[in-house]
Structure formats: structure tokens, C-alpha cells
């Protein structure tokens, strides 16, 4: 609390950037580790064509070459360079996961805000519909829809986005419902503000912290789901490089005690662990709550 000062100098608030800087400096090792890893992945994803030596579908040699020579990580079952495919895989898998999460958030947050603001029959309808949708485990429902619609990339993005939007809807509606009962919303309504204005200017800024944390968690979940579906063979289709399918394609190597198939799986694991570390730190700083998933 600032004490009353008799001098005329006003107390200047630290700017947002300075506060962020202080926060970062106080962050634990795990959060730093997480942020560095995430930054590295984003870098690789963006600059993939310049970083990779070969194309993602380019057959350059014999299958299953050992590490070394021109291929730092060997070749896969068709003779393509694994390192290049790993790099392109970052771009593909991350890109698709990001697109899906953004889409699911757009749906989920919009509908959640509408439901919280309306609190009438629309809210009931949406909530019941979401309850029904959530009664089927995500992966199973995704499998069902992929069987019907086929496994193209747009289908994959859309299906996972819709399924994930249900979770985002629930969270948004819950936190927005707490804000909607506040007096300043009532005042704004009486002023004649439109619903869109209310959502954007009054409610949304106040529910950002849990939404940001949820974005991170949802991204991890989507990322793992896409990898799992690709691993099962019904997600991203070859020859597109994708970590999940790379694990499946090279799985035979395990029998020869070759760790190569574990590399793409490890890449997946490393990213999700890093995002979780950062989310953990973020939640700890904003609310001290955790562990309900």
C-alpha cells in the first residue's frame, strides 16, 4: 500500500513490461527451461526449410541407415533423412496443433461468453449439448468422426477443434458467470451496451489469466491427441512428416535396440513437459491453484 505523500510527485505505476521483467527474473528454473524449449521449437518450426538439409519426402539413401555420415540420425524405413523429417515434423505438428487450439478457443470462448451472459434457455441448451458431447471420450469420438469423414488435415483440425471447444466452453462459462453477476456489468447493461461490447470490454479482460492457462493446457492436449491419432494411423497421413506417424513407421527399430523411434516421441514429450512447466509457474503466480484437470 502506498502511503500518503505530502509532496506533489505522483506515484507512477510500473509499466507492464517492467512488471513482466521482474516476474521473469523471479521465475523458477523449470519455468525458464520450459520457455527456452518452447522458443527453440517455435524457431525450428518457422525456419524449418532453411534448417533441414533435405526435403521431408526426399528419398536419399537406403532404409534404416545407422547414425553418422551424411545422416546425423540415420534414415527411416523408406530411406528419408530422419533429422530433416524431425525438423519438418515440428512445423507440421506444431502448426496443426496451434491452428486447432486457436479454432477451438474461438468457438469455446465465444459460446461460453454468450452462455454466461444470456443465462437463459440458450445457456441451458448449450450446456446440455456440451454435456452430451463430453460424455464420449475425446479420442473415441475423434476416431468415430474420422471414420466417417476421412483423415484429411482440414477434417482433423475441425473435428479436434469442435471436441476441444467443449472444454473451453465449460471453463469460460464458469469464470465468466462469476464476473457477470458483478455490479459493473449490470451498470453497463443499463447503459445500453451491446452484448458484443460487454463481452469484449468488460468480461474478457477480467477472465484472461485462467483462459491463458487453459490455452496452454488445451494446446498440450490437442498436440498429444494429434500425435496419438497420427501414431494410430488415422491422423496426419504420409508422406507429411509428423512425429506421431514417425514413431509408428520406425517402431521396428526398437527390436534392434535402436533408440531412433524414441526421438520423435521424445520431441513430443519434451514440448508438453515444457508447456506444463510454464503453465504451472503461470498459475502459481496468478492464483496459487493447480492440479484439477
Amino acid at each position: 500500500m502506498t502511503t500518503l505523500q505530502t509532496s506533489a510527485a505522483p506515484h507512477r505505476r510500473r509499466s507492464r513490461w517492467r512488471r513482466l521483467g521482474t516476474e521473469l527474473r523471479k521465475a523458477p528454473v523449470s519455468a525458464w527451461f520450459g520457455m527456452l524449449v518452447i522458443a527453440a521449437y517455435i524457431f525450428i518450426a518457422i525456419f524449418a526449410p532453411w534448417l533441414a538439409h533435405y526435403g521431408e519426402a526426399q528419398v536419399i539413401s537406403q532404409p534404416y541407415q545407422p547414425w553418422g555420415g551424411g545422416f546425423p540420425l540415420g534414415t527411416d524405413q523408406l530411406g528419408r533423412d530422419i533429422l530433416s523429417r524431425l525438423i519438418y515434423g515440428a512445423r507440421n505438428t506444431l502448426g496443426i496443433a496451434m491452428a486447432t487450439t486457436l479454432l477451438s478457443f474461438t468457438f469455446g470462448v465465444l459460446l461460453g461468453l454468450v452462455a454466461a451472459l444470456n443465462a437463459g434457455w440458450l445457456d441451458q441448451l448449450l450446456s446440455r449439448a456440451v454435456d452430451i458431447l463430453m460424455s464420449i471420450p475425446s479420442l473415441i469420438f475423434a476416431l468415430l468422426l474420422l471414420a466417417a469423414f476421412g483423415s484429411s488435415v482440414p477434417n482433423l483440425i475441425f473435428i479436434l477443434a469442435v471436441l476441444d471447444a467443449t472444454r473451453v466452453f465449460r471453463l469460460t462459462r464458469a469464470v465468466a458467470a462469476n464476473v457477470v453477476v458483478m455490479d459493473y456489468i449490470e451498470v453497463a447493461r443499463l447503459r445500453g451496451e451491446s452484448m458484443a461490447w460487454l463481452m469484449r470490454r468488460e468480461i474478457l479482460p477480467n477472465i484472461l489469466p485462467p483462459l491463458i492457462a487453459e490455452f496452454g493446457l488445451r494446446f498440450c492436449f490437442v498436440f498429444l491427441s494429434i500425435s496419438a491419432l497420427s501414431f494410430l494411423g488415422v491422423g496426419i497421413q504420409p508422406p507429411t512428416a509428423d512425429w506421431g506417424s514417425m514413431v509408428r513407421e520406425n517402431a521396428a527399430l526398437i527390436s534392434y535396440s535402436d533408440v531412433t523411434p524414441l526421438l520423435p516421441a521424445g520431441a513430443i514429450a519434451l514440448l508438453t513437459v515444457s508447456v506444463n512447466f510454464v503453465i504451472d509457474w503461470f498459475l502459481h503466480r496468478t492464483s496459487g491453484l493447480r492440479d484439477e484437470r
Binding site: 454435456d131 452430451i132 471420450p137 466417417a148 498429444l224 506421431g244 524414441l262 514429450a269 508438453t272 484437470r293
Partner: protein, 367 residues
Amino acid sequence: MTDVSDAGGGSVHTGGRRFLHPLLLTVLQRLGLGVVTLFMVSILIFTSIEALPGDFAEAMLGRSATRETVIAYRHQLGLDQPAVERYFSWIGGAVHGDFGMSLASRPQAVRTVTDIIGPRLYNTFFLAVMTASFAVPLALGLGMLTALYQNSFFDRAINALTLTTISVPEFFIAYILCYLVISKDNFSSSDFANSLPVWLADLGTWLTAAIPRLPTLAVVDASAPFFARVWDLLLPALTLTLVIVAHMMRMTRAVLVGLLASPYIEMAKLKGLSRARAVFHHALPNAWAPIATVVALNLAYLIVGVVVVEVVFVYPGIGQLMVDAVKSRDVPVVQACALIFAATYILLNLIADIIAIVTNPRLLYPR
């Protein structure tokens, strides 16, 4: 019941009896809700196939098929009947366990969906029960220990370990376990070992020798004795265990930490009660409901995890069946599998809700 009132503005109990104890009423309501949900889910499963752009029969046969073939195929699949009729014949059969014909069925080799699913369902059930019977007590125990010894080194170590386990994909854990078992034979001769200093390589060889030779491809032999089957399934069960123990333990810990912070626990301490009594006699009775919910939710993770694990270990269960059916677009099988998975999930949630209702003193002994 007598009328009771006190000068301090207390409660007034009315006389007379109620038709149904409120507890029974709540349980019945919940059961009803479960049934309705299952019904709605079945409609959802059915219609999500219906929403296909274009015609399913055409899509299956390809563009070059003649018009007569398409019409005949459509008739064979029953697609020429109106959707509502088809839904009711499907769900009517499902209730009796008859899910119709698989699309892989041929007149010479008739394969009903039930025939295909039956033995697979049993296999998955065996694996799931085996996993749960070990994982649930382990998770609850670890959750309790970490809640009681919050912020100790033990707690933080377990927390870091479980955070890692829940973040990684199941197939990663599965393949690491496979790798470890296979290294038993191959480690000493592998490139990796040769690149290590001799003492480290020797240590590695000694460690890998200690790993039991578990089968990495689950081979299911229906005639095999019980313990042989359990041995065959150890690796898949271990993979699943690692995944769900992590989730369950974290949630249990969160529940117990919340309960231990309750005012009546502090009051127990101020009454001079020992910590053990405070935990077991005061905290635990209030924990059944949230823990039941946690367990039910995590058994739902088990359902999903089973799909990936079965594919990795080539285990002939319903998870692998569903994946194969999706790839071959055998729609009746996919629908039936989806319905079974959904029904299991709904049932687990229902059981959790009912436990929560039945252990709640407010409902057991209403005002």
C-alpha cells in the same frame, strides 16, 4: 417426529412421513439422467455418420461403380430406409446385443459385429481390470502420503515425476519400456554402449540383466492359465498404470490437501487429537465422495489409454479393433465400439455420482 423449536430461532420439523427418502429419490434421478444421456449419445453416434457429405455407399464403392451396384449396395446396407427407422432398428438391436453386420462380412463368411467384438471386449476388460486393481490402490496411497507430507522432498520428487508422466504420450512410455526389455539382450552389443566408457557400459549391462524378460508383444492365448496371461500382459498393464497413477495421484493429493485445510481439522488439533486421528477419523469420511469422482474420471483415461497401448503391443482388444475398423471404414463396428466406450464412461461417472450422493450426510440425514 415431534415438533421442535427453540428460543434461538432453530429449525422446525414437520411431522408426517415422506413417500420416498430423498436419498433414494436423488439416486433414481441420477440413474434416469444417466440413461437419458446414453440415449442422446447413441443418437449422436448414429447421426455423426449420417452427416456425411455425399452418399456413403458411393464413397465406399468409388466413382467407377455402376448405378445398379450402388443401389444394390445401398439396399444391402439398409441405407434406403429413412434415417429414423434405421436408428431405431440399430438401437433396438443394440439393446439386445445385436449390432448388425460388419461391412467386412461376406455371404460365405458372415461376420456379425457382435461376433467380432465379443472376445475382444473380454480381452480389454481383462487388461483394464488387471491395471486398475494395481493402479488404484497405488495412486490413492501415494496421493495420501504426499498430502500428509506436503512440500517434503518426497512430495516434490513425486510431483515432478508425475508431471512428466502425464505430459508424455502413452506410446512413448510404452516404447521406452519395450526398449528397456529388449536392451536386456542387445545393450552390451549396441552402438550406444560402445560409445560409453567401459565402467558405465558394464553398469548398464548389469542393470539391464536385472530386467525380467517380459513379452513385448502381448500374445493372447485363450487357453493359457490365469497367471501366464497376467505375465504376458505385464508390460501393457505397466504402461497404463504409469499413466493413470500419475493423474489419479495428483487429483487425490489435491482433494486431500483441500480437506486437510478445513477448519474442523484445525479444530481437531486444538482439541488435542493426534494427527492420525484427525486424518483417518475426521478427514477421510469426507473424502470418499471426491475421491470416488477422481477414480471414476481416471478410469475413463484408462479407456482412452487402452486404445494406444493395444496398438503398441498388438494386443487383440477392442481398442485395436476400433482403430482397424476406422482405417477400413467398417462403420457398424466403429459405431458399436464407440457406443460401448461411451456407455462405460457414462457408467463410471454414474457410479462416482452415486457414491458421492450416498456418502453425503446431508442427503443421508436430511433436515
